[in-house]
Amino acid sequence: MDALWDNRQLVLEGFGQTLALLVVAGFIALALGTVLGSFRVSPVLALRAIGTAYVTCFRNTPLVVLFLLVYFGLPELDVRPSQFWRATIALALYTTAFICEAVRSGINAVPTGQAEAARSVGMGFGQVLRLVVLPQAFRAVVPPIASVLIALAKNTSLVAGFGIADATFRMRGLINDNPGDVYVIFLGIALGYILIVAVISVVARVLERSPARSAS
C-alpha cells in the first residue's frame, strides 16, 4: 500500500497526462469524425468515397503501427510537433474512424419518414441534416460514441511505450522500483482507469436520458 501512497504525486501526474491525451484527442476526433460521418451520407460520390476509404484504412491499422507512422515517421518528413502532439495526432486519427461510423449509424437510425417530411417541405440536404436528422440522431449516437471514448481512454495507455509519462508508464516505473507491492500498484492504477471509464458511462447515460437537444 505504501508504494502507491508515497508516490501519489507521480501517479496523479500520470493520470493527468492520460486525461489530457483523452480530452484533446477526443475533441479532435469528435470534430473530424462528425465531418467525416456526414461525408459518408452525402449525395456527392467523391465525398462518400473519401469517408469510406478513411474508415477502411484507419480502422484496420493497429494503433501501434499508426503510432510508429506518426511518432517516428513525421519527424523524418521534417514535421516536428512535440511528443505529446504526435501521440495526440495518432490517437485522434484512429478514433476519428470509429466516431465517423458511430455518427453514420446514428443518422441511419432516424426514421426515414422524418427526412422525407423535411424534404417534402423543400429542405435541401444540408438543412435536412442540420435541422431534422442530426438533432434526432444525437440521442441514438450517444451510447456508441461513449464506447468509442472509453476505448480512447484505454488506448491512451499506448503512449507508455513511446516515452510519455502517463499512468501506465508510472505503473511500470513503480513495479520496477517496488517488487514487493506489485499487486497493490497494479490494482491501484487499474482502479484509476476504471474510474475514468465509469465517469464516461455515467455521463453518457445522463445525456441519453435527457430530452433530445440541438446537436450543433
Binding site: R40, V41, P43, V44, L45, A46, L47, R48, I50, V55, T56, F58, N60, T61, P62, V64, V65, L66, L68, L69, F72, G73, E76, L77, D78, Y94, T95, A97, F98, E101, S105, I107, T112, A115, R119, F125, V128, S147, V148, I150, A151, A153, K154, T156, S157, L158, A160, G161, T168, M171, R172, I175, N176, V182, Y183, F186, A190, Y193, I194, V197
Partner: protein
C-alpha cells in the same frame, strides 16, 4: 450510403453532384500531389528507402513476422472463445456464487487498458511465462471478457420457448444451456466473434510494449537499419489492412452462407461491417 437523406436527383441535380464530385476529386488530387512533393523534398521517394521491401530476405522476414502475429492471435482467439463461453455461463447462472465473480472478472478486464494488462503480466510473471504467454494471457483475459458479453447477449437473444421446450423434454439446466442455447447463440453471434478476431489481431501488435518478436518488431528492426521509419510504417499498415479486411469479408460471406443454411432470409450486412476493423477496443 444513406438514401434516407436525399431524393434521386433530377438532371440538374445530377450535374451539380457530378460537379461537386469533380471539385472534391481535384482537391484530393491536389492534396496528394502536395504530399508527394513533400515526400520527394524530404528524400522519401528514392530507391534506398523502399529497397528493403523488394529484397527477398526482408520480405520473407516481414511475412514470417506476420505469420507469428497471426498465429499468436489465433491461439489467443481460440482460448478467448473458451474463456468467454465459461464466463458467459457464469454470468447467466442462477447461483450467486458463480454469477458475482464472473461479473466482476468481466467488468474488470473490460475496463482496464489491454496494454497495461499485458505490461503488468509481463513485469510480474514474465520470468515464468515468457513473452508469448504474457501476451496471450493478456489478450485472452480482455477478449474473453468482451466475448462473454457477446455470448450472454446471444444466449438472451434465443427465444425463451427454446429453453421451455428443452425443460419440457426433461433436460436439466446445464443440458439446456449446452445442447440448446449455446449452439444457437454461437450461430447468431458468429459475425461478432469474427469481428472480435480482427480486434484481437490488431491488439496482438501491443506485444510491442514487451518487445514480442512479431511483424511490428521485424518492421522496427528494418526501420532502424535503413533509417526509413515512415516507409516501414506504411508497409506495416498496408499488411494489416489486407489481412484484417480479408477477415471481415470472410465474416460477411460466412454470415450470408449461414443465413441460407438455416433457411432464414440472408439479411444484407450493414455497410459498416463490410469494411472491417471491429470496435475501437
Amino acid at each position: 450510403m444513406s438514401q434516407v437523406l436525399f431524393d434521386d436527383a433530377g438532371p440538374r441535380g445530377r450535374r451539380r453532384q457530378r460537379a461537386a464530385s469533380l471539385v472534391t476529386g481535384l482537391l484530393l488530387l491536389a492534396g496528394l500531389v502536395l504530399v508527394l512533393f513533400k515526400l520527394e523534398a524530404e528524400g522519401q521517394l528514392v530507391a534506398e528507402v523502399w529497397e528493403p521491401f523488394v529484397t527477398p530476405v526482408f520480405v520473407q522476414a516481414l511475412l514470417e513476422g506476420m505469420l507469428v502475429t497471426i498465429r499468436t492471435a489465433a491461439v489467443a482467439i481460440v482460448l478467448s472463445i473458451a474463456v468467454g463461453a465459461a464466463l458467459a455461463v457464469g454470468r447467466l447462472s442462477i447461483h450467486a456464487w458463480l454469477r458475482w465473480p464472473s461479473t466482476v472478472v468481466v467488468e474488470f478486464f473490460r475496463a482496464v487498458p489491454l496494454l497495461m494488462l499485458i505490461l503488468a503480466i509481463y513485469l510480474i510473471y514474465g520470468d515464468e511465462l515468457g513473452k508469448f504467454w504474457s501476451l496471450v494471457i493478456g489478450l485472452v483475459l480482455y477478449n474473453g471478457s468482451v466475448l462473454a458479453e457477446v455470448f450472454r447477449a446471444g444466449v438472451l437473444a434465443v427465444p425463451f420457448g427454446q429453453t421451455e421446450a428443452a425443460y419440457a423434454v426433461g433436460m436439466r439446466k446445464g443440458q439446456a444451456m449446452r445442447l440448446v442455447l449455446l449452439p444457437q447463440a454461437v450461430r447468431i453471434m458468429l459475425p461478432a466473434i469474427i469481428s472480435q478476431s480482427v480486434v484481437a489481431l490488431k491488439d496482438t501488435s501491443l506485444g510491442y510494449v514487451i518487445s514480442y518478436e512479431d511483424v511490428v518488431f521485424t518492421g522496427r528492426q528494418i526501420s532502424i537499419e535503413f533509417n526509413n521509419y515512415f516507409a516501414t510504417a506504411l508497409v506495416l499498415a498496408a499488411m494489416f489492412i489486407v489481412v484484417n479486411y480479408s477477415l471481415s469479408r470472410l465474416a460477411v460471406w460466412l454470415e450470408r452462407r449461414m443465413g441460407r443454411a438455416t433457411g432464414a432470409s440472408a439479411a444484407r450486412a450493414p455497410e459498416g461491417e463490410l469494411m472491417g476493423g471491429g470496435t475501437a477496443g
